[in-house]
């Protein structure tokens, strides 16, 4: 009788938990191989979006104890408006309710340099840090809204499902400043809560995220 289905033990290799099947380095036998530890969970694409939200358990988003560390890659996030209150890219964290208002203490500094060569400097910006505040954390300020300008960066969130520790986060990103130049921004801090963080939302301080992509990855630890 012909074999209709092969099982895990049908292959001439010793099964290893959570490993994949691969050819060995001589291409003359099977071996087991590790997959990547950086796992794409979800991609959200902005299209005149009021916000982009990653909610655990919704739309295939995982943001729980599946991974100990999560990374958000923000790529070409473009604001709908410039000036006034509409030119700050920001993030909020949800810690149990439906609101993105987890209390945070954070630091914020940046370096700037104009396209005309002016203003090269690095400085702490105390108008954008937070001291046990529930407002959204600014990640980019004074953004330009020309068609070719945007913010790109990476946010790392450590162990959001912990119910023991506060939740550390670290951001670095850069954007085109409204006065025509680069601003390289460093933000770090913690959500000063022991409740789990189960959702993260990005938005502009006013107006929309006109365009751009935010990708969520889990960093596996086994």
């Amino acid at each position: 009788m012909a074999i209709s289905k092969f099982n895990y033990n049908s292959f001439n290799v010793t099964p290893v938990a959570s490993k994949a099947l691969a050819f060995n380095s001589d291409a003359d036998g099977f071996t087991t191989a590790s997959g990547s530890s950086m796992i794409l969970i979800k991609t959200l694409t902005a299209s005149s979006s009021a916000n982009l939200s990653f909610v655990n358990g919704s739309s295939d988003v995982v943001l729980d104890d599946t991974y100990p560390v999560y990374k958000f890659l923000c790529i070409n996030c473009h604001p709908s408006q410039q000036g006034g209150d509409g030119d700050e890219f920001s993030v909020g964290f949800r810690d149990g309710s439906t609101a993105y208002d987890a209390s945070k203490t954070s630091t914020f500094f940046s370096s700037v340099h104009g396209e005309d060569g002016s203003g090269g400097a690095v400085a702490y910006r105390d108008s954008h840090d937070q001291a046990n505040a529930t407002g959204f954390q600014t990640l980019a300020v004074d953004m330009d809204a020309d068609n070719d300008t945007q913010v790109s960066g990476e946010l790392t969130l450590f162990n959001p499902s912990s119910t023991t520790f506060v939740k550390h986060f670290i951001w670095r990103g850069n954007h085109v400043h409204s006065s025509a130049g680069i601003q390289d921004t460093y933000v770090a801090g913690y959500c000063n809560v022991t409740a789990a963080i189960d959702a993260v939302q990005f938005k502009m301080s006013a107006g929309d995220i006109d365009a751009g992509v935010i990708k969520l990855y889990g960093i596996a630890d086994s």
């Binding site: 050819f23 990547s36 530890s37 950086m38 790392t156 023991t164 506060v166 086994s222």
Partner: protein, 213 residues
């Protein structure tokens, strides 16, 4: 006679060295083109609540970059420095290092901020451990988290560069972020990395080691 085990040439796909096997884009054939990703899990340290050290000795030429992801490292005692050192041939973690160290902090009471270079915590041809976080608090919810990158540790030609970013709660309730970069000023291979608190135990947290293909 029944087939007992399928061999590498039993599948309808051309074997390719070190490649994984998957379905093709049409889901109607096999292909051997999967590389398994470039960030590869190697090992994990999980504190048992009373560890003097967290030590990794599986560092070699397999990868050109090693990444240590440190999550919620919790000290036994208030105001302790989380630190790292490197092994360069002997059994001791004492590779000579030159480093930079700068920080930003902001307290929960909104009374103080800084962005400054800290000349007390950098190293100049020192064999001492390098601080990655300073004055970490020991309250139950306090810890330090961050990432350390170590480049080409197996080189016997170049010094060994490393870069880290760590955030932590201080004992007096500041959020403090520390940026360290430097090099082990040795051409011997680095084959071990050890994390400790300046004094006392590691009483919680994990450190996960990855290799970057």
């Amino acid at each position: 006679m029944a087939i007992s085990k399928l061999n590498f040439n039993s599948l309808n796909v051309t074997p390719t060295a070190s490649k994984g096997i998957g379905f093709d884009s049409g889901a109607d054939d096999l292909e051997a083109s999967f590389s398994g990703g470039s960030m590869v899990f190697i090992s994990k340290f999980t504190s048992d609540g009373s560890d003097d050290t967290a030590t990794f000795t599986n560092i070699d030429s397999t990868y050109k970059e090693y990444v240590f992801v440190c999550t919620n490292l919790h000290p036994q005692t208030d105001s302790r420095e989380f630190q790292v050192n490197f092994r360069d041939g002997s059994t001791a973690y004492d590779a000579t290092k030159t480093t930079t160290y700068f920080r930003a902090y902001h307290d929960e009471a909104d009374s103080a901020t800084t962005l400054s270079y800290d000349g007390n915590n950098d190293e100049a041809q020192s064999t001492d451990p390098q601080y990655l976080s300073s004055s970490v608090g020991a309250d139950a919810d306090q810890s330090t988290s961050g990432i350390l990158h170590l480049f080409n540790p197996s080189s016997t030609t170049f010094v060994k560069h490393f870069i880290s970013t760590f955030n932590h709660n201080t004992a007096d309730d500041y959020s403090q972020v520390i940026y360290v970069a430097g090099y082990c000023n040795v051409t011997a291979a680095i084959d071990g990395v050890q994390f400790t608190f300046r004094t006392g135990e590691i009483q919680g947290g994990t450190i996960t080691l990855y290799g970057i293909n």
